[in-house]
Symmetry: C2
DNA sequence: TAGCCAATTAGCCTAGTGTCTAATTTGATA
DNA sequence: TATCAAATTAGACACTAGGCTAATTGGCTA
């Protein structure tokens, strides 16, 4: 099978590899340098030296191992985004633990690949991530996707159907809920909305009833989980 | 440029297109049927008929437009995951609003593409999404990525460096925090851990101090935001 | 026009919260 | 061994929260 890709004016994606195992490093470099439009400009076997090079070179993409000695891949990823904000980070690891996937993306990574990825796919990922895309390996994607809040009441989006179970909050109640999630007390909410504490309490009370929860902590958690407020 | 892909034993990815504009539908079908290993088995111009076909055919992938008449693409995506859980949904739209991106992924979509995607990339996305991967278009990926909690204290993951600002929670405190986020009162926490209320309060108190917050609502919100607890 | 609902306010009462000081036990570390 | 941190418990105190009843106002609808 032959795929013809027409990319005439495309400039090279400049890549740096940070990986402690020499064998993997060399293998990666070899595989990627076969690919047109990808240029591995440097390698590092630990985060410290990797960060130095990245600061100097400001590459398009960094391939980052998670299990590095010293500063680990996660911390390194955060640092990369500090010292070279336009550089995209692709995590390349053999771990498939949920915490690591989520933490990686939270640290600023744009992609998460397991090491058994085929080189062809990896090269496509590199090119697309360089442009800003996000990619998560098929073996762990579900772990990341389940984090997104289910839109049960995003009024803007649904066409008036469904909206079944939960009674909609009034506009005022939504305002109160937002402040509640910010950790404001009833007194603070009252001050912010320029109403009496009694009013604030009344709103909170009906929010609790509508969300079917017992107290404001549960209300806050539910609001975040279901995307009722923008976190 | 020529990419050689070795996929001898790969079976076809069965695709259904749900899109109201005939022109786009036909164009998509034409473009995708050019690609090896992708087989567009049906089209629908609205969600209702699309869902019927999907229920019957149980395809590998659905290409879903967001702006459908009647049931919209988001609701349709949720329904797809109900009637055919193994079918992956790729959102194909021209919208780039944050709410829609997040709501799509929350509704069960595995990928979000803008309509100006090049067919070659789309075909790669289809094949990889069919295997379980997640893909987000370069123009909107940042909107989704910023949702992931920044891991400021994921002990398991960091190598002992940094850990600067916030004091680590003890094991017991983490347990308490977890219950707190579930909306449990101090009394309930005490019962669950088989300790006195005083103990529970003591733990909560030190959690508040370590997280630098004033009350348990803020603690819960912070815990969720920073991924200190699995939601 | 009558009725309903959102929003507002008030008082009251019980239960829960957060802070403080103080003390004991246990396991790990220097 | 001496010391330290974590976990535990207690009492007390000032607030805060949540539930209840009740009343007023303004806007929308049957």
């Amino acid at each position: 099978m032959v795929q013809q890709t027409v990319r005439t004016t495309q400039k090279d994606v400049r890549v740096i590899i940070v990986e402690d195992y020499k064998l993997t490093r060399v293998g990666l470099r070899y595989a990627l340098n076969e690919i047109e439009n990808i240029n591995v400009i440097a390698e590092a076997q630990n985060a410290e030296t990797g960060l130095e090079i990245i600061k100097k070179e400001q590459p398009d993409v960094v391939l980052m191992d998670l299990g590095l000695p010293g500063i680990n891949g996660l911390e390194a990823t955060s640092k990369v985004k500090e010292i070279s904000p336009n550089t995209k980070v692709i995590i390349l690891t053999s771990h498939d633990r949920e915490e690591e996937v989520v933490a990686s993306l939270g640290s600023g990574a744009s992609a998460y690949c397991l090491k058994d990825i085929d080189p062809n796919t990896l090269s496509n990922v590199i090119k697309n991530v360089a442009k800003g895309a996000c990619w998560i390996d098929s073996n762990v994607a579900h772990l990341a996707l389940k984090l997104f809040p289910k839109p049960e009441n995003t009024e803007i989006l649904n066409s008036g159907h469904s909206m079944d179970v939960k009674a909609k909050l009034t506009e005022r109640e939504s305002e109160v809920l937002k402040l509640l999630v910010q950790g404001k007390s009833n007194t603070e909410i009252a001050q912010e909305l320029i109403v009496s504490v009694h009013t604030a309490k009344a709103h909170v009370c009906s929010i609790l009833q509508k969300l079917c929860v017992d107290d404001r902590v549960q209300a806050a958690v539910k609001a975040i989980k279901e995307g009722l407020v923008s976190v």
